[in-house]
Each structure stands twice: as structure tokens, then as C-alpha cells.
Symmetry: C2
Subunit: 336 residues, 2 copies
DNA sequence: GGATGTCGAGAAACCGCTTTCTGGCTTCGA
DNA sequence: TCGAAGCCAGAAAGCGGTTTCTCGACATCC
């Protein structure tokens, strides 16, 4: 093991330049005028010693470390990946870094993880679609500044950035109705998922709004395999008269589409299929997948905007919901 | 803006419990025996004040902050996503967190980003497939402890975890040869990508090894669109006698597959197509995509293992290359 | 020309912890 | 019975910066 030489400190620089630490600090931060001679000497010394200030020391004195944490249930979920990307780019442009904590879908660990992550950072982005609401409320109150992603939390003192699933479902159903469909099936996501609840609410609302419309709910899941596995009940619904299927998300739709093709079911001829999220692959499915597009990257940026405001001591900004946009492709077609 | 009360410090706890800071610290860290009475009083005070130690102060004293950074060119790349996931889970189990820095494919920013990220953390994971080798060498030497992902860097003092693309290509070609193919096309990735270079080396080696084999190289890219766009030259190669195509990665293969289907090309009847990476979707492509599987999550874990050793002052462990495993599916078939 | 004000550099306090040092007390062996 | 040896709690010295405070030098103004 090589001996790593102790890194230069501000004291070393001060000594090398023959000035006080305070002057070095002033040169570094440039917020007070300093004699050009000194500035020059200090800069030379910094270069000579290869000095760079200790982040830890700065954090201690400032009480912040220009880092935020994002807690997610699963880093492999395309939605969170996109949000993480947008968040990290936006934060970086303000000099902040993002630390990520994957709870591996273990709801029982989420609280501890969030507390720990928050403690290391200046603020927190919380994606906890399954956490019981009461616990989430407590957590959010305790860990401010926090931004909650993709959950509604009425009257809580926290900015929320999310997706208007209710509206998305309605728009998607309108699209299908426009194609003549009157009997649909919804392949639901994980029962405990808040966003699945929203979608179900959308389903209920739209059923209430259109008396001639029927939507069967089929238990599904959130992953490719779930979609693949749900083909049988979907076909049963089709037998029973359903002519179109809305999947919880694109992964499920993908899995379903694949299975249907293998079973020789004509999509969209015999059955229309639509997804949600508009993952990049959607366009490349066979047939290309109709989906509700969600601006993942932009959502990440919006989350940062809200968090930044909060960090700066600003007000808790309003909840913002993105309205998914219909991307009508080939997997949905007129009812036969 | 609400007034956030100053958080309790160790001094507050000490005062509240009527003991010295040192004792509180000892109770906290439990590495020296302390009078049970004091332990109890301190614990009570900690609970009463809701105290939790300042991470920044600890970092300053210890000279480390139990955080590592991962620099990636693009968080949307499935390979890096998987590695990040594996890394973050493995690191978490040792009490470390991962900070992520996305350079948005701007090679010119990579160096600065890496330096900055490393400076905030105890160690660095560097994924920089396009960075010029000399610069990478300098960087790696300057920023130790570092683990480099998916690049070879002969004789550099740094652990490397990567994928044996050369071998992967060879195995894939063997699979295709076994199906009777003798004239192939390789849709290459970004010219500056190191892993594309490796694949090309594999192509060259295998061409040298089999005199009866011919592989045309077609410039492509790394994304879905690139695969979609490259269909024409691929078909031209097919006209010229190529019967199978190897794509730079699964995304490209996916895009290509989709375009070919739309053009009515029979896969694998008229043309076999294979990808690389085995993304989750591969199995769900139409037809399901033959691909070389790479254990992304496990690679992340292996990266952590090496980094942990380094952080603990251990030796620079050997380079490890994962041999991709063939997942033969329906997109490749016997030559007609 | 002396009082006043301004500017800028150095000394020192401080951020919140860990760890060494110090010294009082108990315990043990001679 | 007394000195050496442990043991443990508190005092204090850092860790590496920022920021306040102090003070001298110089310019400004009656």
C-alpha cells in the first residue's frame, strides 16, 4: 500500500504564501477585496501545492453540503430512472449533487433509509409509492426540506410533483372510446401502489361518467413478466366482450403484447392494447405501443426547482401534476 | 418561512445529561467502557433532545464520509443503470452511499466532473468509455481510490471490472456459425467508445481465426434510433450476401428489428439479428432477441467489492472480466 | 495638524465532533 | 502500608475551513 501524502490544507497554503489563513479564504471565496499582490501569491501557492479546499470542513461551517438525496423503491424502474436523470442534471447545474438510495422495494426499510439519507444531505426527494400514508406524513414533516414524487398527500406541508393519472386514464379511455371501444379491461399494478390507486380512481370516474362504458379490472403487476403472465385473464375478458386493454404501465403492456403475439392474437385487430409511461421502447414494440407519455426528465427538473426553492428558504410551492400526453400508435385501433 | 430550530449538538446532550462531551461521544461510539449510569443518562438525553450526530463534523474528523461517487456518461443507458443498482445495494450493505454524476455524454466535462465528485467522496467509480486513454490514466492516478468500469487500461494501477467483449463476440459468432452463417454484418457503436473498440477487436480476431468467415462493419450507434436508421445499409449488406447481423447492443438491435419488421423482412428467415447486453426487454422483442447476457447488477457488486478493498487500504485487485453468456432466442436461426 | 472614517490583513473564535491527555480514584502486589 | 498499575471521566486539542473582531495604515475633512 502506497503512502498517500497528507493533502495540503489552507494553513499550508497560507504559510507557503506568507499570509494569513483568512486571506487565503478570502481569495478562495472572492467575496472581499484583497490586495492583488496577495491574490497572486496565494493563487501561486495553491497551484504549487495542488491545494483544494476540504469539502467536509466547508460543510461543517456552512451547515450544508450541496448534496441532496433521492430515495427510490427500485432503480430499475424506467420512471424513476428518468426522474433521477432529470434531477441530477438540473441539480448539477446549480452545483448540487444527488445521492441515491435504492430501498429494493422493501417498504419496511424505506423510513430508516430516508432518515439516514436525509441526514447526510441538505434535502430529500422521496419516491415511496407503497409507504403507508400516515408514516409518509410523519416522515415528510420530520425531514424537511422534502419533495414528494408521484403521490398525493392532501394538506401536507410539502411540495409534490406528480403525474395526473386520473386524467391520463380518462384521456386514454377517450381515445379508445373514439375508436369505438365500450368494453375495456384494466390490468392493474401492485395493489399497494399509490399510483395504481390513482389509475383505479380514473377508471372509476370514467365508468361513472359514461354509463355505456364497462371496464373490467384484472390483477396484474408492474413488470414485464406480470404482463406476460396476465394474458389468460385478459383473453378471458376478451371472450367476455372486452375489446381493449389498458395496462398499468408499458412494461406490463410489453409483456402482454409479446404473449398475445405468441398466442396468435391479432393486436389491434382482435384486441387493442395500451400502456402508460411511454418508455423509449414503446415506439419499437410490435405493434408500436399506444401509451400515455410522461416527461420523466422534465419531472426531475421540476422536482429540483421545488427543492431548490425550499432549500433557499422559499415557500412550499404548489403541487404540480403533469398531464400525460397520448401517443397513439399501432397497438390500438378501431373496434371490429 | 418557518423557523427551523437549531438541531441539538453533542454539547447540548452533554449539558442535559450532566456529563462531558467526551462521555457522550464514547457512549455514541461504544468503543470504550463507560459507567452504565452515564450510558443510561446519555441515552435518555439523546432521546429527549432528538439528537443525532452531525455527519459533517464526523467527516471532518475522520477524513471520510462513507460516500462514493459514480460518474457515468448517461444514466439512461441500461448497462450503467444496472451497475448503479448493484453498486448502490452492495455499498449500502456496508453503510456506504452512492452519489451519481451524469456527464450527459459530454466527454469534455468528464474530467472536471470526476475530480469534483471524487473530492466530495471517499472513492470513485469511473465509467468513461469515450475519454482519451491518456487523460483517463492521469485521472485515475490522481483520484485514487478508483475503480474503472468497462475499459481496459493496461498496466495502470487501478482495479478494473469489465466485460469480455472480445470473447462475447467470439461466442456469438460461434453461435451464428453453428447456424450456418458465414457472412455477417456488425453494426458498430459510437466510434470513440472503448467497448465498441473491444467488439471490433473481437470481430477482427474471429475473422482471422475463420478464413471462411466474412464480417462487414456498418457504422451505427448506441441507441434505438440508430438501429432503426441503420436498416438500409444492413439490407444492402444482406443483398451482398450477409445472412446475420450483430448489433452493437440490444437497443440498436431493437431499433433494427422494428424497422426490418416494418419493411417486411423475415427475421430470422431472411436475416438473423443478435444484440448485446441482454436487456430485460430482449426476451420480449418480436421475435425475441438473441443476445449476449451481461450480469449488470453483479458487476455493480463486484465494483463495490474492489472499491471497498481499496478504501480499506488493501491491494489493487486484479482486473476481472465477465464473460457474456449467450441467450439464444428466436431472432437468430439457421441460414437459409 | 489632529480627529474621523475606510480599507484590508492578521488573530482568534467557532462549526460539532473525536481523541489524546490529564488526573483522581480504586485495586493489587510486595 | 505504600507505590505501581488500571480504569474512567473530564479538559482540551485538533480536524480544516469561514467569519467576526481587532488594529494599523492611509485618506479625508474640518
Amino acid at each position: 500500500m502506497r503512502e498517500r501524502p497528507r493533502a495540503a490544507t489552507i494553513a499550508d497554503v497560507a504559510a507557503h504564501a506568507g499570509v494569513s489563513q483568512a486571506s487565503v479564504s478570502r481569495v478562495l471565496n472572492g467575496k472581499q477585496s484583497v490586495d492583488p499582490t496577495i491574490v497572486h501569491r496565494v493563487q501561486a501557492s495553491i497551484a504549487a501545492l495542488g491545494y483544494s479546499p476540504s469539502v467536509a470542513a466547508r460543510s461543517l461551517v456552512h451547515g450544508r453540503n450541496d448534496t441532496i438525496a433521492m430515495v427510490v423503491p427500485d432503480l430499475e424502474n424506467p420512471l424513476f430512472q428518468g426522474i433521477l436523470k432529470g434531477l441530477s442534471l438540473a441539480a448539477a447545474s446549480d452545483g448540487y449533487r444527488v445521492m441515491v438510495a435504492d430501498t429494493a422495494e422493501r417498504v419496511e426499510d424505506e423510513e430508516a433509509t430516508a432518515v439516514e439519507a436525509r441526514h447526510r444531505c441538505d434535502a430529500l426527494v422521496l419516491c415511496a409509492p407503497r409507504m403507508p400514508e400516515q408514516r409518509l406524513r410523519r416522515l415528510v414533516a420530520a425531514l424537511a426540506p422534502v419533495v414528494v414524487v408521484n403521490r398525493s398527500l392532501p394538506d401536507a406541508d410539502v411540495p409534490i410533483v406528480g403525474i395526473d393519472y386520473v386524467r391520463g386514464i380518462r384521456d386514454l379511455v377517450d381515445h379508445l372510446r373514439g375508436l369505438g371501444h365500450r368494453h375495456l379491461a384494466y390490468v392493474s399494478g401492485p395493489a399497494s401502489s399509490a399510483s395504481n390507486g390513482e389509475r383505479l380512481r380514473g377508471v372509476a370516474e370514467v365508468e361513472a361518467a359514461y354509463p355505456d362504458l364497462r371496464i373490467d379490472v384484472i390483477p396484474g403487476g408492474s413488470r414485464l413478466e406480470d404482463g406476460y403472465a396476465v394474458a389468460e385473464p385478459v383473453l378471458a375478458a376478451s371472450e367476455a366482450g372486452a375489446t381493449a386493454v389498458i395496462a398499468f404501465n408499458d412494461l406490463v403492456a410489453f409483456g402482454l403484447l409479446t404473449r398475445l403475439r405468441r398466442l396468435g392474437v391479432d393486436v389491434p385487430g382482435a384486441l387493442s392494447v395500451a400502456g402508460f409511461d411511454d418508455v423509449p421502447m414503446a415506439e419499437y414494440a410490435t405493434p408500436s405501443l399506444t401509451s400515455m407519455s410522461v416527461p420523466r426528465i422534465e419531472i426531475g427538473g421540476q422536482v429540483w426547482a421545488r427543492l431548490r426553492t425550499l432549500i433557499a428558504g422559499g415557500p412550499i410551492q404548489h403541487t404540480v401534476l403533469y398531464r400525460p400526453r397520448l401517443e397513439a400508435r399501432d397497438s390500438t385501433g378501431p373496434v371490429r
